[in-house]
């Protein structure tokens, strides 16, 4: 398949993604979540100290990150299965478009659309609500980068679900279950480990790293300030999971978490492409 065809398809799926009602709804909700209205009120009443921003950003991360997967999971989950059901998948693959080309285009289109929501959501919020100074744009940029990585992981996970299922409803159900698993059950499970297991720390760290939502939250919080500042000012920002990871890995925590997230990314991408190449396109 020529490059022109590939980018035509990427552009098509990007536009299709932007038209999706869920993306529009989520964008609006996410924007209001990101600008954080209560803070705006406190800010306008001059109730916040001048150096509130780093602390505020870390709480913003903890507030918004668990909801971020709700953008990519439903959109990714219906992406391929919807085309299987409607027959457009067979139609596209009956041309000279390869399976890899199709999946790449689909993934890139969705990734661009959802990344735009994340970047614009946080970016506009930073611009409007926080009046972020130039030095804080770097911090904001780091948060956005981690959010984009989390979004990409969730998108790939959802696409894998979409590839493996045959019905849109099934895929959506599994996607929501995955969100529930990472946002709720995972925390309960970690709590259970702490309370009931002899070698709790190692299991605790393993399960935290296996939860991309939680590990990316910790990574983004670490990005808002230096570790020393966090530990000195308010260590609860990291949460129990973050505290444990920082306690064990210390200054290597960022590298460990980032590596785990990148392993998630590459493993899921490889799995998506391998499974899609091998299965019947029906």
């Amino acid at each position: 398949m020529g490059n022109y065809s590939l980018w035509t398809l990427v552009y098509h799926y990007f536009k299709e993604s932007l038209r999706q009602r869920w993306l529009i709804i989520f964008s609006v909700i996410f924007f209001f979540l990101a600008i954080n209205v209560p803070t705006l009120v406190l800010l306008s009443a001059n109730y916040l100290p001048p150096n509130y921003l780093p602390l505020y950003l870390s709480y913003l991360v903890s507030l918004t990150f668990p909801y971020l997967p709700l953008l990519a999971l439903p959109m990714g989950a219906i992406s391929v299965v919807q085309e299987k059901e409607s027959g457009t998948l067979q139609y596209i693959l009956s041309t000279r478009v390869t399976r890899h080309g199709y999946l790449f285009a689909k993934l890139t289109g969705l990734l661009l659309a959802t990344t735009a929501v994340v970047v614009i959501g946080y970016g506009l919020a930073a611009l409007i609500a926080y009046r972020v100074s130039l030095s804080h744009y770097i911090t904001m940029g780091e948060i956005i980068l981690v959010a984009v990585i989390l979004n990409a992981i969730m998108l790939l996970l959802a696409m894998l679900v979409s590839i493996l299922t045959k019905r849109r409803e099934t895929a959506l159900g599994i996607a929501i279950a995955i969100w529930f698993l990472f946002a709720v059950i995972s925390n309960l499970g970690q709590l259970g480990i702490v309370l009931n297991t002899t070698h709790a720390t190692s299991y605790f760290i393993l399960f935290t790293l296996l939860d991309p939502t939680e590990s990316s939250r910790i990574l983004a919080v670490i990005g808002t300030q230096t570790l020393t500042d966090i530990l000195l000012t308010n260590p609860t920002q990291l949460g129990v999971t973050g505290d444990t990871i920082v306690g064990v890995f210390g200054s290597q925590s960022t590298t460990v978490i980032l590596s785990t997230l990148l392993i998630w990314l590459f493993a899921l991408a490889s799995l998506c492409f391998t499974v899609f190449r091998r299965q019947d396109a029906t």
Binding site: T8, H12, G87, D280
Partner: protein
Amino acid sequence: MVEILSVNNVYKNFGKASVLSGVSFHVKPREAVLLLGPNGAGKTTVIKCILGLLNFTGSIYVDGIDVKSEGNVARAKIGYLPQISSYYETLTIEQHAKLMGNLKGASRNDIEKSLEIAGLQDVRNRMVKALSSGMRQRLGLSIALLGDPPLLILDEPTSNIDIEGQLEFRKMLQRLKEIGKTFLISTHLSGLDQLANRVVVLNSGKVVAEGTSNEILHKLALNDRMYIKVDEAQLSVASQAASNFGCVPEFKDGWLIVTLSPADKGQFLKGLFDKGVKINDLIVEQFNVESEYVKLLRVSK
């Protein structure tokens, strides 16, 4: 002549169910081959294997290119019209044609030409979701023609459209055949046999007959059924004449019913005239090609 499509010993299973069992057939350039069989015979599965949409064992070559190893190159030589035309419903006809045209490497002129052939140039701005089934099928054909592929594969092309649409569609296919397109048309009894040079009859995942329409009919030893009304006094003479052609005559409501091959039919009637038998009425029930295919399929099970 080199075959443009060569399907060799193709097997396909869905779980434990065997859908194709050693299917082989070939299509030469400029031929129109009809893939005939009842629902569930495996016609669509064969087509999906040709397009590389399904994994299979065996080999399929399109213009000498292996579908398994160079599927995208092989598919560039195929224009495909699926049984149910699936489109991106939020696009207009023109947007859809452009999208598919770009994917198939068609030029702007190609896109215009294919819209013109399908008679869609005046409704190009209409949304796809607002199209009738006949128009959807025409859009499907215009997309199949994009990139000027030498081989057109049509899966049940007339099954979802009304009679008027079917006639119009057949005319369109006839015109395409005249300009040298090669066709593989899958159908279950839809009267497209007039277009076909050859017929491949598929049943329960196997090729049960293959040849020109006439060859298949000859294989089936198809006979016409004649209802003849003669004076009662001459009934025995007429009956004897039929027996001479190896036919066992039947009698019903005053009619003599004789079943003979098309070749013997004329000779039999000439014999009656020669013997002075006066024919008061004559009804010839011609064999129905499609119903005879059905018989063939039943025999092959």
